[in-house]
């Protein structure tokens, strides 16, 4: 077994015992179940989940990830005295963060839909899209959490910054985009708004979901713009690529910090 897989296995043994992850899965389970019961159809339930996915996944992943990264100190100090490279350990730890959270989310959302037998030809692609977007968001915010956890050595300060990043990307940013749109409404700013959307992973995730649910009107100004511009497959592909980049870039910076720091 390659070293990363071995490291991951031991990290997972530790994380799976964590009540946070179990609670996270239960939360999605209960919310999805309630949405199916009250909404009646799988499509409506997934639509109701949209905001939960776009807002809650970044929040939980950032907060849990920052705490997790500080908690891994003992693990690091032990394993780095052994013949294990820092890059290997980093990848093992990162996978140990993103994998359980993604799994908890995916199970929490899929199980109620399966149990209530509401999955049909129409709902299945929506479920797939929701899962892919949720997992991508977990990756993006996992990478950001690891970056914050690596750069900010003080645990509380790290948590504060994580919350600040979340607030900025989910709330403040959309307000800013709206302000730009209103202030320059006479100018041709479609390209600018598109760029602003790509500069925020939360907005990007919205794009991916909105385009499939066709409900741009309720998702704020950014949503309306991108629906017009990114309705096609090319747009979705571009957004997906950007989400991957949003994972890789902060992840690589975090890896660089991890390789250079003193333990």
């Amino acid at each position: 077994m390659p070293m990363i897989a071995k490291v991951l296995r031991y990290v997972l043994l530790d994380v799976i015992r964590n009540r946070w992850v179990v609670g996270y899965a239960l939360f999605f389970l209960l919310v999805t179940d309630a949405l199916v019961r009250f909404g009646g159809s799988g499509g409506h339930a997934l639509l109701g989940l949209l905001n939960v996915v776009v807002l809650l996944i970044p929040l939980v992943t950032l907060v849990f990830g920052t705490i997790y990264w500080h908690g891994a100190r003992e693990f690091n100090e032990l394993l780095l005295t052994q013949p294990i490279g820092r890059t290997t350990l980093f990848h093992g730890l990162f996978a140990g963060l993103v994998f359980p959270l993604s799994l908890a989310f995916a199970l929490g959302v899929s199980l109620p839909l399966l149990l209530h037998r509401v999955l049909d030809g129409q709902t299945l692609p929506l479920l797939a899209m929701t899962l892919v977007t949720g997992v991508a968001l977990t990756g993006v915010f996992g990478a950001l959490a690891v970056l914050i956890g690596g750069v900010v050595t003080d645990r509380l300060k790290g948590l504060g910054i994580a919350l600040g990043v979340w607030l900025f990307l989910t709330v403040v940013y959309d307000g800013f985009v709206l302000w730009v749109a209103v202030a320059y409404q006479d100018a041709p700013i479609e390209k600018l708004l598109l760029a602003l959307t790509f500069a925020n992973p939360v907005d990007l995730a919205r794009v991916l979901l909105i385009v499939h649910f066709d409900i741009s009107a309720i998702m704020g100004y950014t949503g309306a713009i991108v629906q017009k511009m990114l309705g096609g497959a090319v747009g979705v592909l571009a957004a997906a690529t950007a989400l991957v980049a949003w994972t890789i870039v902060p992840g690589l910076v975090a890896l660089r910090v991890f390789r250079r720091r003193d333990f």
Binding site: M3, K6, V7, Y10, D14, R17, R73, E74, F75, E77, L78, L79, L80, T81, Q82, P83, I84, G85, R86, T88, R259, R260, D262, F263
Partner: protein, 246 residues
């Protein structure tokens, strides 16, 4: 065995090592002594790759320490205060590290018996006392029969019996050919163990040689007085003497 040249390291504005040169001969016990914050632990961590020096070169068995990890296979490390994943018990930790290291020869479990750790190994580490953790940490350092042992204040926090058990083990490991680096503030212990003494002060090795040479050089009867006299030496000379290993 170990050759360190011109090692510099500072943490922010705090300079710890300032051009440290150290030679550690094979199959010897080298004691690194010096006042608090003289850079003993930092040097150990640099040898392990836990801390990156700002400048300088270290060769272990001729190979430059440059961030790869394979050379750590031959190192057993006992940190000043060992930290383990709290939910695991010592047996889990040993098993995990054995597994990560991959197949190797038989493990050296002498100390488990000598410390009578039997049941303790299956207790979660978070409930163990400081001395017990220290023992677990000692077992781990020797477990994979390392050729280089880095022991950072190994007997701190151990009761007299475990402390002498550990010292016996260190001597046996040396006799079996292991190179040992010990840092300690207990100078009687250094006199008992060390073949070579390196005295760190202000980030450089101010004295390298046998304990006897150290005492002779400073014309003092005990190591403690020798250290005190060297620390008061205003000229800050650097003395290096050949230390013949037994």
């Amino acid at each position: 065995m170990i050759e360190a040249r011109g090692i510099w390291k500072s943490y922010g504005a705090l300079g710890v090592l300032k051009g440290l040169d150290v030679d550690v001969p094979r199959a010897c016990i080298t004691a690194i002594i010096g006042p608090n914050a003289s850079g003993k632990t930092t040097f150990n961590k640099i040898l392990l790759g836990l801390v990156r020096p700002d400048d300088g070169v270290i060769r272990i068995d001729g190979a430059v320490v440059n961030g790869s990890s394979a050379y750590r296979k031959g190192i057993g490390y006992m940190p000043q205060a060992a930290r383990f994943p709290e939910n695991l018990c010592a047996d889990d930790v040993f098993r995990m590290i054995s597994d990560l290291r991959g197949p190797a020869g038989p493990r050296d479990e002498d100390l488990i018996e000598a410390f009578s750790l039997g049941r303790v190994l299956r207790t979660p580490i978070r409930v163990l006392s400081g001395g017990m953790r220290q023992r677990v940490s000692a077992v781990l350092a020797f477990l994979f029969r390392p050729t280089l042992l880095l022991l950072d204040e190994p007997t701190a926090g151990l009761d007299p019996i475990s402390s002498s058990t550990l010292k016996d083990k260190i001597l046996r490991a040396r006799d079996a050919g292991a190179t040992v680096i010990v840092t300690s503030h207990v100078l009687s212990e250094v006199e008992e163990l060390a073949d070579q003494v390196i005295f760190l002060l202000d980030g450089v090795a101010r004295f390298t040689g046998t304990p006897e040479a150290f005492k002779a050089r400073t014309r003092q009867a005990t190591l403690e007085r020798a250290v005190a006299s060297l620390m008061r030496d205003p000229e800050g000379r650097v003395v290096t003497e050949e230390a013949p290993c037994p």
